[in-house]
C-alpha cells in the first residue's frame, strides 16, 4: 500500500514546514522568546508555551523552562510543577519514533497489554526504561486515544494502527527498525488489521 506511505510522507513534510525550526544551540532563547511573544507573555498561557516547546524539541529542556518561568514572572518551581503534572509533557528526550500504546478500557479488554509486552520485547527494553539506548524508539502507555472502536490501537508519530495483535504490532516495529536511522522508508508498513470481520 504505497498510497499510505505517500500520505504519511506528505503529512510529515507538512509538519516540518509548518513548524518553526527549533535551534539546537545559541539562539534557543530567541526562539523561545518568539513563542512567549506569540502568547502575549501571559501567565495563563503557560501550558500553551510548554506545548509549543515540547512540539519543537519533543521534550522540555530545563534551561528553557527556567527562562520561561522568569519571562512569565513565575517561580521556576511553579513551572516545574505544571510540567510534571500533565501527562503530555516529558522532561526526558524522546526517541525518533514515539510508540504510544493505548490502554483505555476498550483496548484493555481487547488485549492491549499483550501488545505492549510484544513491542517492549521486540525492542529489548529493560524494565523501567521507555526509550531505547540508540534513541530510536520511545514506548509509552497512554490513556484512551478515542480510537476505542478499533481497539486495541497504537499510535506511532501520529499514525494510528488499528485492531492490533501482538504479532501485528511486532511486525510494524520490525519494519520501522529496518528503516534505521536514515529515516528513509524502504518498505511499506504492514497492514496491521487482523481479519476479524467477514
Amino acid at each position: 500500500m504505497s498510497t499510505r506511505i505517500d500520505a504519511a510522507r506528505a503529512a510529515e513534510a507538512e509538519r516540518a514546514s509548518d513548524q518553526p525550526s527549533a535551534p539546537e544551540s545559541g539562539n534557543r532563547l530567541v526562539f523561545l522568546d518568539g513563542i512567549l511573544a506569540k502568547r502575549g507573555y501571559q501567565k495563563s498561557e503557560l501550558i500553551g508555551v510548554l506545548q509549543d516547546i515540547q512540539e519543537a524539541y519533543h521534550y522540555l529542556p530545563e534551561d528553557l523552562l527556567t527562562y520561561a518561568a522568569i519571562a512569565l514572572g513565575l517561580k521556576p518551581a511553579t513551572v516545574y510543577g505544571v510540567a510534571t503534572f500533565y501527562a503530555q509533557f516529558s522532561l526526558e528526550p524522546k526517541g525518533k519514533y514515539v510508540v504510544r500504546i493505548c490502554d483505555g478500557t476498550a483496548c484493555h479488554v481487547r488485549g492491549s497489554m499483550a501488545v505492549l509486552s510484544a513491542v517492549r520485547k521486540k525492542l529489548k527494553l529493560a524494565d523501567g526504561k521507555a526509550t531505547t539506548p540508540d534513541r530510536m524508539f520511545t514506548v509509552e502507555v497512554v490513556r484512551c486515544l478515542g480510537a476505542c472502536s478499533i481497539a486495541p490501537a497504537m499510535v506511532i508519530n501520529d499514525q494510528v494502527h488499528p485492531n492490533l495483535t501482538p504479532e501485528a504490532a511486532g511486525l510494524i516495529v520490525d519494519t520501522l527498525m529496518k528503516r534505521g536511522s536514515d529515516g528513509e522508508a524502504t518498505e511499506a508498513l504492514p497492514a496491521a488489521t487482523k481479519e476479524t470481520q467477514r
Binding site: 503557560l46 500553551g48 505544571v82 503530555q88 478500557t105 481497539a151
Partner: protein, 639 residues
C-alpha cells in the same frame, strides 16, 4: 458576511439548494477509526475520479453559484466504526462497509449508473442479508424505493446531536448552514430574551451530559442573575474517560453545532467570553473546531455585533495537556488559568466565583449540542423524547467485546438489551455476555440482571452505576472482573492529583489490595478491608474523581462477589484471565525433548532427558509463560 437574520436565511437557501438536489453524493467517513483504516486514501481516489469527469460535469451543469458542494464529501463519524472505512451513497441511502481505495472505481461507476455494489453492503452477520443505512434522518422517511431493510444498528437510534455527523463536511460552514445551522441562534437573538432562553432550557429538562446529570437550566440561572459584568461560558471537551469517544466524534463531525450551542449559552447568561477546553489527545477535533471558529468569525456569526444585533461574543481555545482530573470543573478552571489542574472545594461554585473570580458556567460538548434543537423546537418537543426525568437523547460509545463497535445515539431509557443485542449485534465468537462497564472509571458495571433496565440518569444511579459521559465497554466470559477492577483502580490512582489524603492514599491502598488478589496472594480479610477503604474514599474525598473512585470496586463487589471469592478462597480465576492462576502443562505427545523450555524457565521448574518428553513441576512453576513462548512445537498448554 451575515449582517442580519435575513442575510442568514438567504445564505442558507443558497447553500441548501446546492446540497439537497437529487444528484448522487458519496460521503466518505473521516472519523478517527475510518482514517486509521485508510479512508483518506479512499477519499482521494474518489475525488480524482470525480474531477476526471463524470460527476464534476454534472455538478457544473446544475449550479451556476459558487457554492456547489462537491460530489465526494469527507464527513465526521458515521457510527459503525467496526466495519470501517465507510461510504454512504446519497440519496440512495446505502452504506458500503470495509471499503478499500481499490474499490473506488467500482463504487464510482456503479453510483453514476444508479447501481448498487452489493458485495460491499453491510450484511447481517448471521443471515448474510444485505442492509441499508439509517431511517432516523428526517428527509429519509418518505423514501419508498428502498429495496433493502434498515440495519438493526441504525433502526433504534435517534440522531439529534449527531444528525449532521457523518452527513456533512465538518470543515465547511456552508454545509452546516445548508442543514439549517445557526437558525437557532438567530431565533434566540431576535425572538427571545436571555431569560426566555434560560426558561426554555429549564423547561426542557435538559440534564448535563458530562456525567452527573445536573439540570442545565438551573446551572445557567445562577450565572444569568449574577450582576458581575464579566462572565465566562466554557465548553468542556476534556473527554478523558477511557472507552469514550462521543464528544470527540461530535467535535470532529459537527463542530459548528457545538459552537452554536456555546454562543446560545453565552447569550442566555449574559456572557461575552467563551472558552473551548479540548484535550490534546484529540488533534482532529482541535483542528476542526479552530477551523469552525475562524469560519464563523468570517461569516459574522461570531465576534462583535453578531448578525447585526447587540450581541458580541468572543471565543478562546485552550488545549488540555493530559490530565483526567481536568474534566472536573474546578480543576478545569485551574488548567485554563495555566496552573496545575487540581480541584478545590465547592462552594464557592463556579457560578459564583469561577475563572479569574468571575461567574463561570462549564457545559459538556453534548449538552451544548442539544441547545440549537431545543431553541428551535421548544421544550415540549424535547420532553417528548426519552423518559420524564431524563428527556432527550444521549450518545454512547459502544466498545469492547461487541460486534458493532461504534458511535450511537438513542433516546434515554433505551434498554441495555437493545444496546447490546440489537444495536451492538451481540458478542463476537458466540461468547457469553458478562457485564457492561458504564461511565468509565467513575461508573459501575451492569450485568445480565440489568439487561432490561432502561439507560437513564436515575435508574443507573439506583443500580450503582452512572451514565457518565456515555462509554459502554462490553465484557464477555473471558474478562476477569477483578482484573478489570484493578485496571480502573490503576487508572484512578495514577490520575489522582494528590491534593486530598483520602483519594491519594486510599486509591493506592485499594490498588495494592486488588493487585494482591490478581497476583494470587489475596485473602478473605483483604476483601473486607477493600470494602472498608472504598467507603472511606467515597465519603472523604474532595472532588468527583475521588468520590467516585471506589465505584468500580463497590459495584463489582456487589454483583460479582463470587468471582472475588473464587480468587481468594478457591485460588482460581473463573475467567482464566489472571496470569497467577494459570497452569502450564507439556503435552508428552508433542514434546520432542529439545530442552528449549527447560533453558528458558526462570524457576527451573521444567525437567526431562534430551529427546524425551519434559514435565513441569507445578510447585516450582512461577506461571510466567516463558515455556509457552519458547516452544516451537505447540506442546505447552495453558489452562
Amino acid at each position: 458576511m451575515i449582517d442580519s437574520v435575513l442575510d442568514l436565511f438567504h445564505e442558507q437557501q443558497r447553500h441548501a439548494a446546492a446540497h439537497t438536489d437529487a444528484r448522487p453524493r458519496l460521503l466518505v467517513c473521516a472519523g478517527t477509526g475510518c482514517v486509521a483504516g485508510g479512508s483518506l486514501q479512499l477519499y482521494q481516489a474518489l475525488s480524482r475520479l470525480a474531477e476526471a469527469g463524470g460527476l464534476a460535469e454534472v455538478q457544473m451543469a446544475n449550479h451556476e453559484c459558487d457554492c456547489a458542494s462537491p460530489a465526494v464529501t469527507r464527513t465526521g463519524c458515521q457510527g459503525l466504526c467496526a466495519r470501517g472505512p465507510l461510504v454512504q451513497v446519497e440519496p440512495a441511502g446505502l452504506t458500503y462497509t470495509q471499503v478499500r481505495p481499490e474499490d473506488a472505481e467500482e463504487i464510482f461507476t456503479a453510483t453514476l449508473r444508479g447501481e448498487v455494489v452489493e458485495r460491499l453492503l453491510y450484511r447481517d452477520p448471521a443471515t448474510g442479508e444485505p442492509y441499508s443505512s439509517s431511517t432516523s434522518l428526517p428527509d429519509r422517511t418518505d423514501r419508498t424505493d428502498r429495496s433493502y431493510p434498515v440495519s438493526p444498528f441504525y433502526r433504534k437510534q435517534r440522531k439529534l446531536v449527531l444528525a449532521n455527523c457523518g452527513r456533512i463536511d465538518p470543515e465547511r460552514i456552508e454545509a452546516y448552514l445548508a442543514a439549517g445551522g445557526y437558525r437557532a441562534l438567530a431565533k434566540a437573538l431576535t425572538e427571545m430574551t436571555p431569560e426566555q432562553v434560560c426558561q426554555e432550557v429549564l423547561a426542557s429538562g435538559l440534564r448535563g451530559r458530562g456525567g452527573a446529570g445536573f439540570p442545565t437550566g438551573k446551572k445557567w440561572e445562577f450565572v444569568r442573575t449574577n450582576p458581575d459584568p464579566v462572565k465566562y461560558v466554557v465548553c468542556n471537551g476534556d473527554e478523558g474517560d477511557p472507552g469514550a469517544f462521543m464528544n470527540g466524534s461530535l467535535m470532529e463531525g459537527d463542530p459548528h453545532r457545538v459552537l452554536e450551542g456555546l454562543i446560545i449559552a453565552g447569550y442566555a447568561q449574559g456572557a461575552t467570553n467563551g472558552i473551548f477546553y479540548v484535550r490534546a489527545e484529540y488533534p482532529l477535533a482541535v483542528r476542526r473546531l479552530k477551523i469552525a471558529i475562524a469560519q464563523a468569525e468570517e461569516f459574522g456569526l461570531l465576534g462583535d455585533n453578531i448578525m447585526g444585533t447587540d450581541l458580541s461574543f468572543h471565543v478562546k481555545f485552550k488545549e488540555g495537556a493530559g490530565a483526567f482530573v481536568c474534566g472536573e470543573e474546578t480543576a478545569l478552571m485551574a488548567s485554563v488559568e495555566g496552573k496545575r489542574g487540581m480541584p478545590r472545594p465547592k462552594p464557592p461554585f463556579p457560578a459564583v466565583s469561577g475563572l479569574w473570580g468571575h461567574p463561570t458556567t462549564i457545559n459538556n460538548v453534548e449538552t451544548l449540542s442539544h441547545l440549537p434543537n431545543i431553541v428551535l423546537n421548544g421544550a415540549g418537543w424535547f420532553k417528548s423524547i426519552g423518559t420524564p426525568n431524563s428527556p432527550g437523547t444521549k450518545t454512547f460509545a459502544l466498545t469492547g467485546k461487541i460486534n458493532n463497535t461504534g458511535l450511537v445515539e438513542v433516546p434515554l431509557g433505551t434498554t441495555l438489551r437493545d444496546m447490546v443485542y440489537e444495536i451492538g449485534g451481540g458478542i463476537p465468537e458466540g461468547k457469553a455476555f458478562k457485564a457492561v462497564q458504564i461511565g468509565g472509571p467513575s461508573g459501575g458495571c451492569l450485568t445480565e440482571q440489568h439487561l432490561d433496565l432502561g439507560l437513564d440518569f436515575d435508574s443507573l444511579q439506583t443500580a450503582g452505576a452512572m451514565v457518565g459521559s456515555g462509554g459502554l465497554v462490553v465484557m464477555d466470559e473471558d474478562n476477569c472482573i477483578v482484573e478489570v477492577a484493578r485496571f480502573f483502580m490503576q487508572f484512578i490512582q495514577s490520575e489522582s492529583c494528590g491534593k486530598c489524603v483520602a483519594c491519594r492514599e486510599g486509591t493506592k491502598q485499594m490498588l495494592a489490595l486488588l493487585q494482591k488478589i490478581v497476583d494470587g496472594q489475596g485473602t478473605e480479610a483483604d476483601l473486607a478491608l477493600l470494602e472498608e477503604v472504598a467507603l472511606v474514599v467515597k465519603d472523604a474525598s474532595l472532588c468527583g474523581l475521588g468520590k467516585t473512585a471506589a465505584n468500580p470496586v463497590l459495584s463489582t463487589l456487589r454483583y460479582f462477589r463470587e468471582e472475588y471469592l473464587a480468587h481468594v478462597r478457591d485460588r482460581r480465576c473463573p475467567a482464566h484471565a489472571c496470569q497467577a492462576y494459570k497452569e502450564y502443562y507439556i503435552d508428552a505427545e508433542k514434546c520432542t525433548g529439545c530442552m528449549r523450555c527447560a533453558r528458558a524457565c526462570p524457576a527451573g521448574a521444567i525437567t526431562g532427558e534430551k529427546r524425551m518428553p519434559h514435565v513441569i513441576d507445578q510447585e516450582k512453576c512461577a506461571r510466567c509463560g516463558a515455556c509457552l513462548d519458547t516452544c516451537r512445537f505447540g506442546a505447552v498448554e495453558e489452562r
